[in-house]
Structures are given as C-alpha cells and as structure tokens.
Assembly symmetry: C2
Homo-oligomer: 419 residues x 2
Amino acid sequence: MKTNQPALLKMVTAAKKASFETAQLGTEVKNKILAAVACELRARSAWILAQNAKDIKAVKASGLSPAMIDRLTLNSSRIEAMARGVEAVANLPDPIGHLISSWKRPNGLKISKVSVPLGVILIIYESRPNVTVDCAALCFKSGNAVILRGGREAFYSNQALVSVFEKILGKFNFSKACVSFVRTTDRKAVDALLKMEEQINLVIPRGGQTLIRKVVRASRIPVVKHYQGICHIFVDQAADLKKAEEIVINAKLQRPGVCNAMETLLVHEKIAADFLPKVGERLKSGACELRTDKLARKYLPWGKPAKPDDFGREFLDKILAVKVVPDMNAAIQHIQTYGSGHTDAILSEDRQAQEQFKQRVDSASVMVNASTRFSDGFEFGFGAEIGISTDKIHARGPMGLEGLTSYKYVVEGNGQIRS
Amino acid sequence: MKTNQPALLKMVTAAKKASFETAQLGTEVKNKILAAVACELRARSAWILAQNAKDIKAVKASGLSPAMIDRLTLNSSRIEAMARGVEAVANLPDPIGHLISSWKRPNGLKISKVSVPLGVILIIYESRPNVTVDCAALCFKSGNAVILRGGREAFYSNQALVSVFEKILGKFNFSKACVSFVRTTDRKAVDALLKMEEQINLVIPRGGQTLIRKVVRASRIPVVKHYQGICHIFVDQAADLKKAEEIVINAKLQRPGVCNAMETLLVHEKIAADFLPKVGERLKSGACELRTDKLARKYLPWGKPAKPDDFGREFLDKILAVKVVPDMNAAIQHIQTYGSGHTDAILSEDRQAQEQFKQRVDSASVMVNASTRFSDGFEFGFGAEIGISTDKIHARGPMGLEGLTSYKYVVEGNGQIRS
C-alpha cells in the first residue's frame, strides 16, 4: 500500500474528534467496553491465530531470527494473556476526573486541579503484537484516542487485534477512531504522522534506541522515552554482603536483555577483597563476562580488562563492567558521568550513606538494597506499564495510566473581576 | 561580540555541573542567598541605573517605540519592586524534596515519589529587565541552574542584574554558574544553545508568538509555552446578566494586551436582546471595536461585520469578536474549533450548564462566573509565575515553582530480588 497523506490526515483528524468523546466517557462504560474486548479476543482466537500465521509465514520466508519469530508468534495462551491484560486494565482505578488538589483564594474563587486525558497518542512499536492490545487498552482507559503504528512484520496480527476493538466500539455505538491503526506499512506514513503536531499530543516509541532517536529527530511532538538503561549498583563498604550478592546476581542475570538490568557494578575498595571473588564466581558460573578496571582485576583475574567505553555502555547481555571505587563520592560521580538516569542502586546498611545516595543520585528510580529489576510499572504497583521515561518533563520513571494524563484548572467564582 | 561556541558549551557545561549542587541546597541557604540578592539590588541601585542608561541611550538612537523604551527603563521604584519580588520568592515554600506520594509493595519495598529540580533551564526573553531577576530567583529557589538570554536592547541592564546574583553567590562560596548570562548578543548563540539537548532540560521562551515558534522549530529540547491566548466567554441563557456585564467589561478592557484578556464573546440567543445592547454601550464607551456575526449585529448595529478570521484571532487590543449562538453546545464547539486551550469561561447560574462546560471544555483554565483575567500565577496563589503553558505535557496553565520541578522514585528495600 502507498502512503496516502490525505487519508492519514483524515484518520488523525477523526482520532482527534473521537478524543473529545473518549475524554467524556464514564468509568463504568469504559470498563464495560474493555470487558467486552477481552471476551471478543477469546471468541475470535482462531481467526486471530490465522491472521498471525500469515505474518509468520512471510517472516519465515524473509529469514528473520528465531528470537524475532518467537516474539511475533501468537498462540492461544498468549491470546488468553492479552485478554487478561485488558481485564486487568479495566480493574484499575480510572485516572481521569481525579481531583488532584483544590483551594480557595481570598477573593472567594475556588480553584480545582483536575486530571484530564492528553488527547491523541501515537504509539510506534516493533514486533510484539501484544503491545497493540496493551496500549489500546491503556489509552482507552485513560480517555485518550490512540493511533497505533506497529512493525510491518506483525501487520496482519495487529490489524486483527485492532479489529476486535473496532467491533466492540461499534457495538457500543462509539467512534472507532479512538483506536486507530495505520493501515499501511509504508515508512513515509510515520514521517507524515510525526509532523502532525496540531492533532497529536504525545508520541511513545517502543523499541530500540535507533527507533527512538529517529522519532525524536523527526518530530516536534513531545516524545516520552528512554534511550538506554545503563543501570549501576554501588556496593558500599557498609553493605550486607550476603544480600548484596543475591541482588547483584539478580540484577545482572535474571533477565540481562532488559533496560532495568545492571550494566555496571561499582564496589567500595574496603570490601572489594571480601565481595568480588565470591560474587565473581557466581557470575562466572552464570556465564557472565566481566570487564574490569585495574583495581577490580586484582580480585577477578579471569575478567577481561575494561575498555574505556565499557563504562556507560548498555550491554543488554551477560556482560558486566566492574569498577572498584575509593568511596561513595566516586561512585556517585561515576553515575553522574556515565549513567543514563534510568535506575541506580546503593547496597548499604549505613543510614547516612543511603540518605546521601538517595539525595544526590538524580535518576528516575533510585534503589536502596533492592535489585534494579524492580524499576517497572507492574513492580511499582501501577498494574500496567506504557513505558519507562528518563525525561524530566512530564512523566518520569515507570509510566502507568497516570503518565497518560494531564490536568486542567477549574476556577469557580461568583462574579469576580480583576482589579 | 562574536558567537563563540566552545565558550557557550563551557558555560552550559558549568551550569549543568552547578545544577547538581543547587539541587542539594537546603531551603534555609537558598532563602538567605535570595535575601542577600534583594539587599544587594537595593545597595547597587545607582550603578544598575547607570548601566540601564547605556541601554536606553542606544535604544533611543535606534528609534525604538516609546512603549518599548518604557518597558526597558528602570528607576528606583522598579528596582525596589524587583527586590521585593526576590523576597517574595524567598518566602514561598520550597518545591524541592517534597514527598508527593509513597506506598508499600507486598514484597516490602517502600516506594516514594519525591520532587526534584529539572536541571538546567534556558530562558529566552525580550526587553523587560525585571524578567532577569524574576526568572533567576524562581529557578534558584526551585534548585535549578538557569541560563538567561535576554534581548539585545537590555544587554547592559541584564548583565548588571546578573552580576548582583554572581556577587552574592560568590560571597556564599557557591558556583556562579547556576545563574548564567549569555554574554553575547549574537543571534547564533541562541541557535547553538537550542542544540544542547544533552545539557539543557527545558527552554522557556517569554515573548511573542514569533519568538516562541522560532524556538520550537530550532530545538529538540522540551519547550514550555503558549503560542496564543484566544480566550472566550460564553454568556449562557441562565447567566446573571449584571455579573456578566461586569465580567465581560473586565475581561476585555482591564488590560487588553495580555494573553488572558477575552478575545471572543459568545452569547446565548435567548438573552442576546437583553444583554448585548447594554454591554455593547459600555464596550463602546471604553473605545472597544466590535466585530460581530450576523445575529449579533441585530443588537449591535454599530459593530463592524466580523470577517471569518476574526474568530480565533488574538487581537491583544481593544477589539472584540462577538457571536450569538443557539445553545451551549454550539458555544463549546466554537471553543473547540477556534480556541487556543488557554482560558475559557462560562457565565451561568445553571448548575447543570456549569458542569457540562467544566467537563467538556478542555482548556488549561476553565472559568465559571469569573473573569478570564484571573488565569495567572499570582491570582492562582502561586506567589510567582514563570509562564503560562497550553501544552498538555508537563506543566499546564499558570506555572509557578512547581512547574520547574520533576520527580524521582526512591525505592527502599531490604535485599529484595525479582523472581
């Protein structure tokens, strides 16, 4: 299919219009629609799988990696998981119409700060089809219209999943345009969408750094994002070394390919001799490669010497940079220099050290005596996650429904005029 | 002076470094420094006026308008007002380190959401020198480093005012780089700054729409802004017409050149005959030109016929567009089509109409029975205003100190690992 800009503009304009309606929907209606979507996903499972099979077939022919094919593949339990995800979003509290604060002015004006939807949200994502359902559900629950632009390799799967939303929205006599799907795989469509700053309020790119940088470069629309998760753990001299060992192993090895996995380990020199050989053995038996600075190498002779760019690098793999630091100050400076502001942790039983670290490290999530892997919308108790932001404007850190809202001020008077 | 990009980058890098320090300052120290700045402004009043005289002399030679010269001119009472402004900011509550919310997870993790500064803020502004002092005080109080880029016509005045901050910061042994001034009038300096997205966290342009659009086009850094204030007042059929008359006159005539002045009056047709002739007389005697649609002209025969682009236009002058609408629905649709999302008001004694309007109009400030002129940081009780935003990302509406903050999550555990 060719890009058709007038058609795209028509779609986006319809989404904008629909967003005024979605913003007004009551909690009960929204939840009913989401529940019906979950039912429909289950009912049309066989058809969705058939559509998914078309994508798989094309992708196999083009020689995609088995890991990519796995991410793309649906089966009945994955569809069941999507349906449950939609039900979970229905069960979350409605983030809209919430009174954030209110106060009265001496002249009698009553000012209320009330949460409202953002408007139209464009999501650009890669292969996993469940992102389609997750994002549509989250945007709908938060009163936003969403425009979904999935990867070309999942085109038929995504289209099938969106049609489930469309069918249910139609059943409730509600505009389908609040869940819109870009029905072309032409890349120029993305460029055109990214220019529509009058209609689209926010872009959320979900994918690798290359995708995100491309989106940021191409658009004037605000983008919520994180480029990289270069997470540090600093093991202080006052750390409980047994706890520290478990946390370090967990943060590095439990799932090395994700943004909240640890990439650099900083160890206080006073406990390096006690800590590093032991934890090193466990990392080694977990097939983790170590890239060590000169001091760390003393205790980890089997590690590779770190190159300068191994610090501040997101390996997303079983590779860990290790550095011994003279004190916490050096650790914090290292994090300020090489960190990405995503998630950084201190392991220490010293209250004062904890306080200093919490205060001075300016990352979206600062952890004390816990694995960096907890930096996650579900683990934070948000019930859902639309993304993780390392921006300081708007939402920061794991983003749930609240990150998809703005607010307005309602000012109620009784004839007040300004003098 | 020529643009010197390495010098600019050095300045911005120093500001970034200083921002880590400013972020850590306690409330008491910040307030002491601000109090000392206020004293120093008074003490060096004569010298500041001498610097200001240099600007005035240059500007008079170049033939600037008397209004512009007035905006640029300082005198001892204006300096006193600046000093009091700085004291007022010192007296405001510290927006940093504030516990926004906290909760405990079933696994024992304690999550706290804490307010933090944004980092480095670039302010680009035009002639009025008091903006230098206001913005520096607000950014400092909110723990941010600020880079000030004032208009070339106020160069010496701004430099003098910044040097007051620098002297006091030096006295307290604190880095001067947290209040930095762009010491060149070369326009290329702005372009260079707007590219420094790694160092600068937020840009606030204060000035006309042309300046703001230029900044948005040139930068990838988030910009907090409003392009225009196209404020509407809808006088409902259930309005108290006496109150409505006072509010309409106030919103249009009390200060027509500002963004929260009314630009379009929408009147319910059922009360048009009662309301329009009376309020029209008062507008006329206030030298206000009316641009009326066909129905409104019936009651305001002396008004000019409105051209299509008079609706949705920011006159910033004693000119008002007037339209008679069949019902509230039409009024809301008009606001959705022509409004700028700044401030819109309903005047009505009907609770249901008020609720509908409050709910459906998605502007940063929605007013009920009050003048649009109240959309202002001081009138909202923020004690200060850094700007008004019509964005839906980050701060919206009048922005005080809170708009200059972000937050971080502090997660405290006792050895938790993720399974």
